[in-house]
Each structure stands twice: as C-alpha cells, then as structure tokens.
C-alpha cells in the first residue's frame, strides 16, 4: 500500500483544490444522522461545509454515509443498510473519494474494508485543516489552553478491527495525541492501564503541528498522563500532524520495532484526522497478521463550531495492494 499527499498548487493554501475525476463520493456528517429530519443540515464547522461544497461539484454520485459504532449499524443516504450495501456501491464505481474532514474514523474503516474485495486499487481522501479551534484558558495554568471539541466519547471496538484485551497478557498501546486529554484518560480508566505493568505505551505527537505552537497544546495537555504512566522521551514519537503517510509509516515503524513479544498492538488515534487516516490504513494492512493489531477508539461526536475558518487543503491518494 502506498499513499501520497498533495496540497493545492498556488500561493494560497486555503484555496479549494480542483478535485480529480471523482465518480463517487462518500460524505458524512455524523451529527446529521442524529436527527434524520434535517434535509440540509448545518455543517459542523466552516471547513466541513467547504469540503462538502467542493466535493458536491466534482462527483457524479454523492452518498451520505454514517456508521453508528454503538450498534454497528450502517446508514446510506439516511436509509438503514449494511456492509454489503456499501460494498455494492463501492463495487459499482471506478474511483472512490472520501471527505475525511467530515467523516469519522468508523466510516473510513468501513469503506476501507469494502475496497479490497471489490478490487478497487486507489482511493482519494480530502482533508481540510482549520485555522483555529475553539478553546479557553485552563484553570490553574495560565499558559495552558483547554479544548472542547468532542463529546459522547465511548470506547467501543469496531468489528473487523477488534482484538480482545487481556490484562494478564502483554500488549502495546499507541496513543496518537490530540488536544483533549479526557480521551486518553478515559482509555486508561476503562482498561485500568495505570495499574498494569504488562502494557508498553507509546505516544505519537503531531510535530510539526498544523500551525506553529499547536504542538504544545498536545504535549502540555498530556504531561500529567505521561508522568502517571511513568513514560519518558523514549515513549514519545513525533510525526507531522497533517501527514497521513507519516502517521502510517510511524505506526509501521513502531510495530516492527516492538516485535511480536509485545502482544496485541492497540492503536488509539485521538489526534488529527490525518493521523487517524494513517492509523486506518495501517490497521487495514495488518488485519489478520499473526501479531495482531487492533483499534481502541472512542468514536466522538464532533461539537458544532469546534473549529473556525478554512486552512490548508489536502488531497491524499492511496494505492491499495500495490
């Protein structure tokens, strides 16, 4: 599998890119699905709206797709469906594009699952960075900022990428860090990871970040967690925040380095969407390996107006099975 990233040509990176010949576009707003009465639901944020507009004008079929992780239920254009239904649509088109700005990781994984059996060789991913995220100053820490970007987080395995966790077996947990420490705290709480000495931890931080200085939002927010887990610099990897490819390669590097004596390799992409996409590709590729990999993820709902304005556009082409 290879993947390459592109940003639009020209001096202004916030200009929408002319999307390549896309015959089929899968779109989703997780928040749309919560109320099926919405005909033209409001976008979660500015960039999501821009991404949708851009894709609407280039694809010849647009499908609104939702995956409900709590029920493992698939909805296509608002109607209940299943993995076969999704696979049928994917198989009917030569080119697939995903708007990764608005799609959740659960949806991305389901589409990726469908690709290989249909013989699809490439997939296009679109992602639009924000200019800023909603935040506030943290109590007790003048320099720290707190972000409220998601809610309703609940760790729930995704069929196809689920491996059971056993506290008495060795395992590795890789957390791709974002701005909200609540998510990793919840991950630790659910598995009592602080009490377990058989788990090795690795943190992946987005450096360079989308914007200079944003990396401190990730690092500072997680210092306490890392201290409690008794981690040091050897447990931290840095990886470009907006690079799907780097995230994917970083996970592969860790996976190879740790070897098969570390048990199951759990990946928690709690940071940027490009990191989550890299994780999805990694999980797809390692599915069924002797040394198992698994997703450990909390499927957040993204809060409305969580980000503002439109930053850099990314078009990522991924070749499957080459």
């Amino acid at each position: 599998m290879t993947c390459s990233g592109r940003i639009p040509n020209g001096d202004d990176p916030s200009t929408a890119i002319p999307f390549p010949l896309a015959f089929f576009i899968v779109l989703s707003f997780v928040d749309w699905i919560r109320d099926s009465h919405f005909c033209r639901p409001p976008p979660v944020d500015d960039r999501g709206a821009a991404a949708i507009d851009n894709l609407k004008n280039t694809g010849n079929q647009v499908v609104k797709f939702n995956f409900d992780a709590s029920k493992h239920a698939i909805t296509l254009d608002g109607a209940s469906s299943n993995i076969q239904g999704l696979r049928k649509i994917v198989a009917a088109h030569k080119k697939i594009a995903l708007d990764a700005t608005t799609l959740g990781l659960g949806e991305v994984l389901q589409v990726l699952r469908c690709l290989a059996p249909t013989g699809c060789k490439t997939i296009d991913l679109l992602y639009v960075e924000p200019v800023s995220y909603q935040h506030q100053h943290a109590p007790n820490h003048q320099l720290a900022q707190e972000f409220s970007l998601t809610n309703n987080c609940k760790f729930s395995a995704v069929q196809g990428f689920a491996h059971e966790y056993f506290a008495d077996h060795p395992s590795s947990h890789v957390f791709m860090l974002g701005f909200e420490p609540s998510r990793i705290l919840s991950a630790i709480e659910q598995r009592n990871l602080e009490d377990i000495s058989r788990t090795s931890f690795h943190m992946i931080v987005g450096v360079p970040a989308f914007r200079p200085g944003w990396e401190s939002n990730s690092i500072r927010a997680h210092l306490e967690v890392m201290e409690n887990l008794q981690l040091n610099e050897s447990n931290v990897r840095y990886c470009q925040a907006n690079s799907v490819r780097e995230a994917y390669l970083t996970l592969w590097d860790l996976y190879r380095t740790l070897g098969d004596d570390q048990g199951c390799f759990f990946v928690s992409p709690l940071g940027t969407k490009p990191h989550a996409l890299g994780a999805a590709l990694f999980l797809l590729e390692t599915k069924g390996f002797d040394n198992p990999t698994s997703l450990y993820y909390d499927h957040p709902s993204r809060l409305p107006k969580r980000s503002e304005n439109i930053g850099t556009w990314h078009h990522i082409e991924v070749a499957i099975g080459t």
Partner: protein
C-alpha cells in the same frame, strides 16, 4: 519493589496486586457480615471507584483463597470457590449489529461466558493443586474424565487439558468470527449455564473433595456491559442456585435495567442481596486506614515493627476473635490513631490561628482585614486592638465579625477585651462562635494570602478527605511520602527515640493539594460524560472557594448544595446519575424538608477535591442552586460558568440556608 516509602502506597507498587492478594489483604471488620462464603443467592457489591470492590472480589476468588502462600486449606474452604471475570467491555461493545440478529449476539455472549468461566473453573482446580502438598491433599486432576461433555461438542476432548485447549480455541474462533462477520459462519456456541453446570456436576462426582462445592462467579465492572448483556446477566443472577451462583460488582447506578431476557425483573432481597462497600466502612474507616498505613509501611520499613501497634498476621486473620480484637477494642483504636497522628500530625484550627499571628504574611492579611472593616465602618479604633497574640482564635474570628453589617466595632471590641481578659463571653475559647467559625476564618486568611492552608494536614483529616475510599487515601499518602522524601535530610538514617517517619504538616498540606489536583484531572476521563463532570467540579468548587474566601465568613464551610428550584430534566438526571456513579458528587438525604414536604437531596462535592479548592472537607453548610444553574455548570460554555462563579460565589443570604452564625451578631 524498591524500599522507598512512596512506593509502598503507589498504585502500581508491584505485580502482586493482581489475582492473588492473600498476603496483601487486610481483613475488614465486616467480612463475616457479608455472608459471601455462605451465600445461597446472588450478591450485588456496589461502591465508588477505588473503594476496594475488585480487591474484595479477588480475595474471595480461587487465586487468593487457594494461594500457594496460604499454609492450610481445609476441606470446608472448598465449599465456596470464587471465579473472577472482568470483561473487556470495549470488545463486548462490538457484540451488536453487523447483520446479526439479537439472538445470535445473545448466544455469542452466552458462549463467551461459557468459555471464560469454564477456563476459570479449570484454573481454580489448578490453583487448589498448586504444589505437592496440595496435590497430595486433593489432586487426582489427571483422573478426571470429561467424555460426558462430548454430547455438547465432540471436540471437547476427554480431560481437563483437552477442555482447556478447546475453550481457548473456541475463544479464538469467536474473535475471528467477530472480525470477519460477512465471510465466516459463527462458531458452535456453548450455553453457559448448562455447560458449566454439567462440568461442575462431573467434577463434583469425580473429585470427592468438591462434593459440597459451590462455584460462585464474580463479574466485575458490570456497569460497563451493554444493556442487553446486563439483562442476560440479570437472568443468571435471578435463577442461579448452588452449585453455580452469580454475583456482580459495580459502581453506584450501574444497573441500567433490572430486566432479564425473560419476563421477570430482578428484585432486591428476593433475588439478590446488596452490599454497599463504602457504607460497610462507615465508622471504622479511620481505624482501617491506620492499619493500611502501617501495613504498607512495614513492607518497606520492617525495622519499624516494634514501633507500630499492629501484628501483620492478625490483620490477615479471618478468625472472629482476631477481628474483634481489632475493631471492638477501644484501646487498640486509640493506640492506632495516636501513632498514625504521630506520623501524620495535624494542626488544629486553634494552632493554625496561632500560626496566622506568627507568620508575617498571614498576619498582615489579618491586620489588613481588620483595618478594612474598621475603615468601612468609620471606626477610629486601631486595628491592633483586635489582635492579641495570646488569643489567636478570638483575633482571627473577630476580624470576620467586624465585616458583618451588624458587627459594631465598639461592641465587638468589648467582647474581644472580655475574652482576652479571661472573662468569657461569646469570643471565649470553647464557645460556639469560635467552634463553629474558626476553621472557616483561618482558611479564608490562607486563601486571601494565596497560601496552601495548613488545615489540610493530619491523619484524621486525610481519612475525612478520602471518605471511605481506599484508593484516594493511598494516593494522598503516596504523595505525602513522596514530598517527604524530597525534603532535605528526610532520608537520613532514622535515629534517636523516634524511629517513625514524621511528616511535617506543611509538607502534608502541599502534597495533599497536589494529590487532589491530580485526582480532579482524572475526572475528565470518567466515562462518556467525564468532561462535563470535570466542568461541574471546577465550577461548583470555584463557587465554594469564593465563599470560603469571603471576609465576612458569615456562612463558613459551604461545601454541598441542594437543588432548590427548577425541574430535573432527563439530561440533568443523567448527569447527576453519572456524577454519583463516579463519586464526583456524594448523595445524601437532606435532613430538612422542602416546603412541599418532600425530602430533598443534598449533593456533597467529594471531599477529595477540597484541597484543590482549599475548601472545607467537613460537611457543613449548603448552597442552594437551581436546576438551570446546575445544568450550566455541567454543559454550559465557559462564559456561563464564569458568570455562575461570580454570581453564586458572592456572599449573599438569598440562596443560603439558615445562618447559624448570624444569630450571634
């Protein structure tokens, strides 16, 4: 394990805190009241996070009861064999949808239970026969013939090793199926209850030492199961009877439904018995905490044995006489608490008042407070007239009285001089006025001086902050000893007549503040609504802090609230339920009645957060809030929360309960 003091109280202090806690378990006074080892129906063990549910469950399970460290296992110790199961709820959440119907998922869950508990039964037999002595006493595992189980599945094999392999393979096949639902048929599903009963029956028939054994399953963290999985387990609780019983452990409000997969619901008393672990500790937690403190200290400082009034083997003993000797012996309790207080000395509010006068900065805050009040009231009495080094308590309290609207400086000066002259009066030491308000007045001076209050020290104070929660108590002590070891010369060889590590109150107060902040930070990760619960604690804690900071201190020590007006919407109810589940708020019935005659609920902010906000850890006075305000604290934006802190943090009688203090002014 290292021999550093903090390590003895660390969560991950060693790898032995797993299945077998035979050597670690301090027998609580209520052990025999639980009736677990003589149970004939299900138990639901509930309590807050960190109160010791898992430790208790582990204690009753085979790895501990048949521990190789246990010298003697008698025949009747086999009457109750505990099996532990804690599911990976992340994995179990995937038991839904995927084009499989509900019945298939139910059967898959049933199968998973059969595999896990079947393996646990085999492990229990191996725990029991863990060494040569035991094998000589019990043994005969190789003789077990399981051919009769082959009617369930011909691949089960003929002996325990075969069955173990079969169950492992079956578990692997289940995982494989879940990850390839659209291209693999489901494996053969085992029905848990029927399979386990048949297995138990064969074992009881072939191993004479098991002829009277009941296998009791303990399902931990039941609250994290899916609702339909809870219903399935509920049915097992309801219908279970010896030789296979089921028990569950959960946080408060963890029972999403009392329904079963059948038509009947489970009901307390008739179907199960509820054990509230924190309630069981009530009244004896201080003594238990002292035992835990010494027990852990001895792990790293065995040379302290002669200085500590415990005998380790007595703490581990389940003999009734030994338990009575600990918990029904006033002298033992006094000895224990005295030594604990020597290691972790406290500063009383009277001593703290003296410190206020002797510390330059704190004294200047006090003096300024008096001056401000006198200036506001256009009094020309010098501030020094209200401060007397020999009467620190009266000095500190009168400073707040002067700020009251009805605090007449001339009259208060007379009262003060009366107290200073030894003629009693309402400012006399021992009077209600001092007793009720000194803590709050001292604390407000520390808050105003931006100092960490010395009142957050002392063994008893720690137990009040931990409030029957072992994990919180250990975290406090862990941080205290970490700070103690960072103090210069703390690690010098112990010498002289006092071999015990004595932690100065100032060191304790700083460490306790850090521990509290750490525990507060973890609230963000408490379930789906962790961020909202964290926002609530930050907001209500800040409101209480503002109240504690107030110069008047007419309502000292406000640290709980009631919902006075507004409807408790389903959303708010869900948040409150979660807050109680995660012990962020502790619910108690209010003693007063609302005007309509309905009893109201009192929500107490968990006192473990008190040091972070420097507010009182003693349940004292209550604040009234509206349902709308409470909802804003939970999921309002930051601006709305800041507004609430300003609005409710302001001193004002409008939303206060009866002021005990006002009557004296």
């Amino acid at each position: 394990m290292s021999n550093r003091l903090p390590e003895a109280f660390s969560k991950n202090r060693n790898e032995e805190t797993g299945e077998d806690n035979w050597s670690d378990f301090i027998v609580p006074h209520f052990i025999h009241n639980l009736g677990i080892q003589t149970q004939t129906k299900a138990h639901i063990i509930q309590g807050g996070r960190g109160c010791g549910k898992t430790t208790l469950l582990r204690y009753f399970c085979h790895a501990t009861q048949f521990s190789p460290r246990r010298h003697e296992v008698r025949d009747n110790d086999l009457n109750h064999i505990g099996l532990y199961w804690r599911a990976d709820t992340n994995f179990l959440n995937s038991f839904s949808g995927g084009d499989q119907d509900d019945a298939t998922w139910r059967a898959a869950f049933d199968h998973l239970l059969a595999c896990e508990l079947g393996k646990e039964i085999i492990r229990a037999l191996r725990s029991l026969n863990c060494n040569d002595v035991r094998r000589a006493q019990f043994g005969r595992l190789d003789d077990v013939d399981l051919r009769d189980l082959q009617h369930i599945d011909a691949n089960i094999g003929t002996n325990l090793n075969d069955l173990d392999d079969y169950l492992r393979r079956a578990r692997g096949q289940l995982s494989m199926w879940i990850n390839n639902l659209d291209c693999r048929p489901h494996p053969t599903f085992l029905p848990a209850t029927a399979f386990l009963l048949e297995l138990i029956s064969l074992l009881r028939g072939q191993l004479p030492y098991l002829k009277d054994s009941t296998f009791a399953v303990f399902i931990d963290e039941y609250e994290n199961l899916r609702e339909e999985q809870q219903r399935f387990i509920n049915g097992m609780l309801k219908h279970a009877k010896p030789p296979l019983l089921f028990n569950i452990a959960m946080k408060r409000n963890g029972l999403m439904t009392g329904a079963t997969i059948g038509h009947e619901a489970i009901e307390d008393i008739s179907d199960y018995r509820t054990i509230d672990l924190e309630a069981e500790f009530e009244g004896n937690f201080e003594l238990f905490a002292a035992e835990l403190l010494f027990f852990r200290l001895l792990e790293v400082r065995p040379q302290l044995e002669s200085s500590l009034p415990i005998k380790v083997e007595k703490l581990r003993s389940v003999e009734i006489a030994d338990i009575h000797a600990r918990f029904e012996n006033p002298l033992y309790k006094v000895q224990m608490l005295t030594v604990a207080a020597r290691i972790l000395p406290r500063v009383t509010d009277h001593d703290a008042a003296a410190i206020v006068l002797s510390d330059e900065k704190l004294r200047s805050v006090l003096t300024e407070r008096v001056k401000t009040a006198l200036t506001r009231k256009s009094s020309v009495i010098p501030a020094t007239e209200f401060i007397d080094d020999e009467h620190p308590a009266a000095s500190v309290v009168v400073a707040s009285l002067l700020h009251r609207e009805r605090g007449n400086p001339d009259e208060l000066l007379k009262d003060f001089q009366k107290a200073v002259g030894g003629h009693g009066g309402r400012l006399a030491v021992g009077g209600d006025l001092i007793a009720n308000n000194l803590f709050g007045c001292v604390n407000s001076i520390y808050l105003q001086a931006q100092r960490i209050s010395i009142l957050f020290s002392g063994f008893t104070a720690l137990t009040l902050m931990a409030r029957n929660n072992t994990r919180h108590f250990l975290e406090l002590v862990h941080r205290i000893f970490r700070a103690y070891e960072d103090e210069p010369a703390a690690e010098l060889p112990l010498q002289g007549e006092e071999p015990l590590p004595i932690v100065p109150p100032g060191v304790q107060a700083n460490a306790v503040r850090d521990a509290s902040e750490l525990i507060l930070g973890q609230v963000k990760g408490h379930g789906t609504y962790g961020p909202q619960l964290y926002a609530l604690v930050q907001c209500i804690g800040s409101i209480f802090r503002e109240r504690h900071r107030n110069e008047k201190q007419s309502e000292p020590e406000i640290n709980h609230f009631t919902i006075q007006t507004g409807d408790i919407t389903p959303t708010l109810q869900r948040y409150l339920s979660e807050a109680e589940k995660w012990s962020v708020l502790l619910l108690s019935r209010e003693t007063k009645m609302k005007s309509a005659g309905a009893p109201n609920s009192d929500f107490v902010l968990n006192p473990i957060f008190a040091p972070n906000f420097q507010i009182s850890y003693r349940k004292k006075r209550s604040l009234q809030v509206s349902a709308v305000q409470l909802l804003q604290m939970l999921d309002g934006d930051q601006q709305a929360r800041d507004h609430l802190v300003r609005e409710l943090g302001r001193q004002g009688p409008s939303n206060m309960e009866l002021d005990l203090f006002r009557a004296h002014t």
